[in-house]
């Protein structure tokens, strides 16, 4: 059992949990993830390690409540325990040798991109952060991201923070200004990562994306998380989750992500139904 030592509500649906897991905290690197299971009937879900504290022995996860399991997770409080918490899984991001990086996060992806930005910043790279959200209310981690960035652009789809547009608009401006960029890291919805990768490809800028396919074990034994990279099948859980964005078959990845859409809805409905029952008495 893994104890929750801190909880923060970042916006209406995004929550942060800091979890006691000393062995994982000791080894975790930016780009890696954990798999957790909340209870005996629960499923195993992957979540990126958003931060870690080696001294305190804690690992931070940030997640959006999108279905049954994340909803159950979001209802837990400090002192509660998570049944299973496995990691660190996947390969660490390769961040050596870059001088001028643009780190792009879309929505919750900002939380996932944060450890990479922090690491690059510590390693002396110039970090430009572009974080995109649907509206002002959804903005998360602004302070944390600013602290590890040389410059930061926060966009909202509806312009409610005064900077209307998509992350790709800001990236295009940087490229048009002839900023010398040697690395782009893009993390967020597949469609965003696809558009960023298309844009950087035409300019020959190295681009890393972090894939988030359906996973079960997270240790390479099932292939549920397979993605096509440069024409070859790779398992995101062991070969990734970081890959070269120019090599990814995004359309296939988007299609595979919808595989359990109906069941996910069913599970959520049943969960809400039960909750309703409890509330109604």
């Amino acid at each position: 059992m893994y104890k929750i030592v801190k909880k923060e509500v970042l916006n209406a649906t995004v929550k942060l949990l800091e979890i006691e897991a000393p062995l994982i905290a000791k080894k975790a690197q930016p780009g890696q993830f954990i798999i957790l299971r909340t209870d005996e009937e629960g499923e195993r879900i992957p979540l990126t390690i958003a931060d870690y504290d080696r001294e305190k022995g804690t690992v931070t996860i940030i997640f959006q409540q999108v279905g049954k399991t994340t909803q159950v997770l979001g209802a837990l409080n400090v002192g509660d325990k998570i049944l299973d918490f496995v990691g660190p899984l996947g390969m660490a991001s390769h961040l050596d040798g870059y001088k001028n990086a643009v780190v792009i996060g879309g929505g919750l992806g900002s939380a996932i991109a944060y450890p990479q930005a922090k690491k690059l910043h510590e390693m002396g790279a110039k970090v430009t952060t572009i974080a995109g959200f649907r509206n002002k209310e959804l903005i998360i981690l602004e302070k944390e991201m600013s602290a590890v960035s040389n410059q930061i652009f926060i966009t909202t789809d509806d312009g409610s923070n005064g900077n209307k547009g998509f992350v790709t608009d800001e990236l295009k401006k940087l490229i048009d200004q002839d900023t010398s960029i040697d690395l782009v890291i893009a993390i967020g919805p597949l469609i965003m990562m696809k558009f960023v990768s298309q844009m950087t490809k035409s300019h020959g800028i190295k681009t890393l994306v972090s894939m988030n396919p359906v996973m079960i074990d997270g240790t390479g034994m099932c292939g549920g998380c397979r993605v096509t990279v440069a024409g070859e099948t790779k398992f995101a859980c062991v070969d990734g989750p970081d890959f070269d964005g120019h090599d990814i078959d995004f359309d296939e990845a988007m299609r595979r992500q919808t595989m359990y859409k109906e069941q996910e809805a069913e599970s959520m409905d049943q969960h809400n139904c039960r909750l309703g029952g409890i509330i109604d008495g």
Binding site: L23, R44, D84, G220, T233, E252, M259, Q263, S267
Partner: protein, 464 residues
């Protein structure tokens, strides 16, 4: 007076058309009367050829004699001397090619039902006795076992009996390996596997789940933590795909993924359990081994109307146990033999809608001693299916070996060891089971775990 019947006392089974709609155990086991009757078929021969056929050398005539006398409790203790998982072995061992193959009764008629008797004894004990907790006196020495499958569990049990402080490091949330995620509930109930594992915990074996060795800790770190020897029993869990077009379409599973969802995660209870699984009306399982049979029979139980086994050789070459093939056929699984898939076809939205196969004919013997399948010209045809499960084999997971450079491996990933002892190229590190041999049987893995335990004990005693 020996029972000279040429046939085994038959065991009752669930009706095929009932059981192919549930996940309850198919074979129902002997009653005490049936067990005693079957035990009386054993001639108690002095040469005991059956024992040599058992990779863990269960004292077969001795335990059967006790069953014949009705002393099931003593029979259990005799089995447990050498076998830590009798309820499992009695169910899933291919006895027909091991102990029972060498039984003298096979000279005329069927062998003694050794597996059925072992199963009966183990089940009786679990139902009627609280396991006695007799923790051995500790010798103060720590050993680590990586992987909680049959090899690791056996190795751990034997070392614990010798007084070692044994810790099993298991990557999943439950120990058992393939017994938990691979072999379905209807062949091997999971509660029973956990209860067998509990007897090891009672011996003092510590099981640490959620520990992916190679990621959270390396072998060298385990050695630094004071483990005097390590056994690697991490199995062969890396699924092979066919590398044909369409394999990443929605609706294509590796057998590992499909069975893990169904068995370990209990997707057959969805939505009461959270893990989903999708099975279409028509399902093709590619392959002919036990894993393929398990996947096909599970798909049928999840409501598929037509389930096909697609196998490139003929019935004679099917690697699955004859009993499993028989059970599958009884349950309505259709065999498309001498058929090989060349492409999986998808809908516009990327879901499986069919599989193009070619017919095969058998040619000369190949290196594996089986007749080589050759494509029949112009034989392309389409099988209409919405789900494809690939069960063409697994190889060892590289998670540990890739982070332990001084561990020598075969080109296909298997750890290279001394055959008799399981000693690897790294001092104090032993390995056994599927991680050494590639995918094989539960009992061979257990035998390897046993041999390694003995060698590890000798190694530690001779140290310094």
């Amino acid at each position: 007076m020996a029972n000279m019947s040429l046939k085994k006392v038959s065991m009752s089974e669930q009706d095929p058309n009932v059981r192919n709609r549930n996940f309850l155990e198919v074979a129902l086991g002997y009653t005490k009367e049936q067990a005693i009757e079957e035990a009386n078929r054993c001639l108690q021969c002095k040469t005991k050829p059956c024992v040599a056929g058992c990779p863990v050398m269960v004292k077969i005539p001795e335990f059967i004699k006790l069953v014949a006398e009705g002393d099931i409790e003593s029979a259990y203790h005799v089995i447990k001397e050498t076998n830590s998982l009798p309820a499992v072995c009695g169910r899933v061992c291919p006895q027909e090619s091991q102990c029972e193959a060498l039984c003298v009764r096979t000279k005329k008629g069927e062998s003694v039902g050794i597996g059925r008797l072992e199963r009966y004894v183990a089940d009786w004990y679990m139902a009627n006795r609280e396991p006695e907790i007799k923790k051995p006196i500790t010798n103060g020495k720590k050993v680590a076992v990586v992987g909680g499958g049959p090899a690791g569990l056996t190795c751990a049990g034997d070392l614990a009996k010798e007084g070692y402080e044994v810790t099993i490091f298991e990557a999943f949330h439950a120990a058992g390996g393939v017994l938990m995620y691979g072999i379905p509930e209807f062949r091997l109930p999971k509660a029973l596997v956990q209860s067998e594992i509990k007897t090891l915990k009672d011996l003092g074996v510590e099981i640490r789940t959620n520990m992916v060795i190679g990621k959270v800790l390396s072998l060298d770190e385990l050695i630094e933590e004071g483990y005097e020897a390590i056994f690697i029993g991490s199995g062969a869990g890396l699924p092979s795909f066919m590398k044909i077009p369409g394999e990443n379409l929605n609706g294509v599973y590796s057998a590992n993924e499909f069975l893990t969802r169904v068995n370990l995660m209990k997707a057959y209870k969805f939505p009461d359990c959270d893990t989903p699984v999708r099975v279409g009306k028509n399902v093709a399982v590619v392959g002919g081994g036990n894993v393929a049979m398990d996947a096909a029979r599970s798909a049928k139980r999840l409501g598929a109307e037509n389930v096909y086994i697609v196998y490139r050789r003929s019935e004679e070459e099917l690697p699955a146990r004859a009993e499993e093939v028989h059970h599958a056929k009884e349950e309505g699984i259709k065999f498309k033999l001498l058929n090989n898939p060349v492409e999986i076809l998808g809908t516009e939205n990327g879901w499986v809608k069919g599989m193009t196969c070619v017919s095969m004919v058998l040619g000369d013997m190949d290196a594996s001693g089986r007749r080589r399948p050759i494509v029949k010209e112009g034989s392309e045809h389409v099988l209409d299916v919405e789900t494809v499960i690939i069960a063409i084999g697994q190889s060892p997971n590289p998670m540990i070996t890739s982070t332990t450079p001084d561990l020598k491996t075969q080109s296909w990933g298997g750890i290279i060891v001394e055959e008799a002892t399981g000693l690897s190229s790294k001092q104090g590190v032993y390995a056994g089971g599927d991680v050494v041999t590639g995918a094989a049987t539960v009992i061979l893995a257990m035998g390897a775990g046993k041999d390694a335990a003995k060698a590890m004990d000798t190694y530690i005693k001779n140290k310094k």
